[in-house]
Subunit: 202 residues, 2 copies
Amino acid sequence: MSRKEQIERTATALFKTKGYSATSMRDLATALGIEAASIYSHIKSKEEILQRVCFRMAQEFFEAIDAAEEAGGSATDRLKRAIAAHVQVLTHNKEASAVFLHEWRHLSEPLLGTYLALRDKYEARFREIIRAGVKNGEFAVPDEKFAALTILSGLNWTHTWYKPEGKMTPAEIAENLSEMLLNGLSTKKQALHDTYSHLNTI
Amino acid sequence: MSRKEQIERTATALFKTKGYSATSMRDLATALGIEAASIYSHIKSKEEILQRVCFRMAQEFFEAIDAAEEAGGSATDRLKRAIAAHVQVLTHNKEASAVFLHEWRHLSEPLLGTYLALRDKYEARFREIIRAGVKNGEFAVPDEKFAALTILSGLNWTHTWYKPEGKMTPAEIAENLSEMLLNGLSTKKQALHDTYSHLNTI
DNA sequence: CCTACCGATCGGTAGG
DNA sequence: CCTACCGATCGGTAGG
């Protein structure tokens, strides 16, 4: 691991626990065992580290969903695979994911705009799968955008409690999330879905 | 509105958009149209503002779930009402909720510990409802703690996109969230729930 | 609520 | 990678 990568990893961990603004270059230097000034031999600025982390993670999420959608299949299949892919990226990059999800607002323009556009593009991928599923009758949702955001927020909380040594593997977490989000908690379909459960009982 | 309340509200909005650490007392003073030193006539420290916001919101959430559970009913009824109560608090206190959810880590001990204990107690209320529903067959979940966290994360994302002038009212948002979380996206029950959908078709 | 100011710390640079 | 240091800004206080 190069010194630059080491700086980035250490900074990512600090950004996650203390937040970007509350992490000083002296904090980072101490964690690395060097002087603050020495960090600047490897990076240009504090924000450069944040930029690298945010855009590397954006790339990881896109590559993961690309792979997940490539195999095609039903909307249900694609959504399950997209969920699994997202959870894989989250759990394999716990610290960087937290920074990506919570510290992006400290990016300055024009990169802040680029980041937000990427995030919207990524959310649109989930919206598209949901739209396809609604169209062919696999899904029933109140609102496609609303559904996509609720799903992603359910996934994104994972990084706050996931522990590699915990009892659930990333694959099991993904499976449980798919189960909860696709089928819900209820043992019986109700309310809006009464139409469908009624058909089922005929 | 007293000056102290005015300071708290203005600070809350700044904490939400810039983050606690990145918001300076000079930023706050400028937003209020006074000098930074003058703020200290009304409050003791920057952290005091954060403390007041976090613990006031904790109280709001507890009062809301207390009222939601008081009416009793099935686990489904109670969960729906708890969801609606949570969303009401979130939407009526958009900025303060964001601070409560994201800036609490800047609290220092011993209040940080108190905060975390309260949050766990609140999550336990949702876990309890879920446990009751699993016990009497209303719900089927992979894991109770996991289910409670997934539900709460789905709810907590609301503050990032909710706009009072938007097309959905808080009550509609709550209804849509209940629908999604209780019944899921799928028009048919699958996987783990096959047991139940099978019984339904007999 | 202001002026005047404090010591501490910030991100970052110069020069080696 | 370090020493030495920069101007700017931080949260907060004294005294009115």
